[in-house]
Subunit: 299 residues, 2 copies
Amino acid sequence: MSYQLESRHLRYFLSVAEELHFRKAADRLYISQPGLSRQIKEMEKGLGIQLFERTNRKVKLTKAGDFLKIELRKHFKTLESTLAHAQLLNKGLLGDLKLGYVGSAMEEVIPRLMNGFRKSHQKVMFNLKEMDNQDQINSLFSNEIDVGFVRMERIPKGLNATTILQEPFCLVLPENHPINNKNFKDLSQLKDASFILFDPKYSPSYYEKVMQIFDDSGFTPMVTHNTIHSGSIYKLVAHHFGVSIVPRSLKSDHLKEVTFIELHDIPQQTALSAVWNENNRNPVLDDFLVQVQSFKSVH
Amino acid sequence: MSYQLESRHLRYFLSVAEELHFRKAADRLYISQPGLSRQIKEMEKGLGIQLFERTNRKVKLTKAGDFLKIELRKHFKTLESTLAHAQLLNKGLLGDLKLGYVGSAMEEVIPRLMNGFRKSHQKVMFNLKEMDNQDQINSLFSNEIDVGFVRMERIPKGLNATTILQEPFCLVLPENHPINNKNFKDLSQLKDASFILFDPKYSPSYYEKVMQIFDDSGFTPMVTHNTIHSGSIYKLVAHHFGVSIVPRSLKSDHLKEVTFIELHDIPQQTALSAVWNENNRNPVLDDFLVQVQSFKSVH
DNA sequence: ATGAATAATAATCATGAGTTATCAATTAGA
DNA sequence: TCTAATTGATAACTCATGATTATTATTCAT
């Protein structure tokens, strides 16, 4: 264990191998010639390999030396690119980001965020998974996802959150329903209707808030169907299985079979929040959260 | 240029990355814990990469650190095998050896030498080329071949040589020739015969020696054909184009159409020599020359 | 609270990389 | 056949820095 080969030896060796001249190589390395000679000698002795043939006037590579020159050059090249790669990873310009989200976040928010983010982070890969609120919270604690997009009032301790959108609710009616934007006054007009709502398991606090709306309107709705997909809700509404209430971000102008009525006059709104684990050390996360902030400032 | 990454840093980093514990890693490296901490910190600062997440009680790899752990391990592995390869090259256990030779050397000598040599040097590749004497000498000086097998008296200065075989000449006669082993007395019996001899250009000194034999026998032969291939000589002799004289090593018992008569009673013999450039630094050469010496001691 | 575990800091030491000065051997030119 | 120039190796010494010891700060377990 008396000798340890260091990168320095390899660098020095390559310099001499390229110059085939100790003085010139030493100049190039900004060290003195005797120091270089000593290091090369030590390397030769340590490896048990004759690297150069010195004829007191000429320096020549041996077969082993010539082989090493070629191989070690490759070696430094790959080391260099490995380090460059690690630096990108460190800066968060390379890596992956795992997102969980409730379906409505995929309508607008996530595509927009990703679009802005990839301008500066082309090499970051996104892993996307639709999940209910509670699964997102669990996955955030176990670091299975980096950011969650949830609809919930109170974020558990240990997680950080920021509100992305604050939006009113929308009533969803079939196209030719007697109530429309013109004659709609308040929700009590629908106290006898069947309601199709998001599954309370998907987001209990969201469900609770919707129920508050009915409370304020003085009736308890007849909930006939539950689902977690807005598309399913619209289909059921179109086929007269009932009416529904959804966040405005799920409103779509492309649908002919259903109409939307925004509920401006009630105090309830629903918020979409981005949530993350404060101990998450994924370097990509920091940059992504900056993107989230700039998204908020625009909307 | 203030910071230089050394192998030491990489070794230390790998140790910590594997133990995830500075004390244990330091023990494994036979250095003190503070020294290790300093080196890692220096490496992190130098590369501008956060390698570990230290929470004062736990050490954890960052994404970049985890990536580097994997890559640098590979790195050391390849470096190791590169050095091992170079060591083999240095010892002459790996590499190539270029041989030039006159045709007769391929009958017995070269196959035998190669056979013995490959027992200890399986990985050495031979490059074989039949050449006339002068081409071999030139190729030795220009290092196009490492060893030559020639038939010549005086080896040029700058080359080393050793005699491998000293052998008598053989008369070559067609099968049913009036002269045979029984009634042969001396060469003057063939003073009226046609002779087929090796081309003097192929080996002038060899040719000169054969001519001395005729001189001593008191006649000048009628040389009707020249060739450089013993096989051609035998064919021509078999078809009664003439008789010939060849080195004993070209005698073959498998040939039915020609007979051989060894010329014991004349002073001339012919020598096969191995020749090499004394400045040749091919490490395989040294070991091969040892093989040549041991071949001589057996014959 | 208390004590054990762990990494970081501070101050000091000592190894060995690097320096200067010189030599020995070879080559080139007068 | 002398120099003079070139080039790598040696010897002695300097000093930068890697490593050590002693200590602190923090956290975790009891």
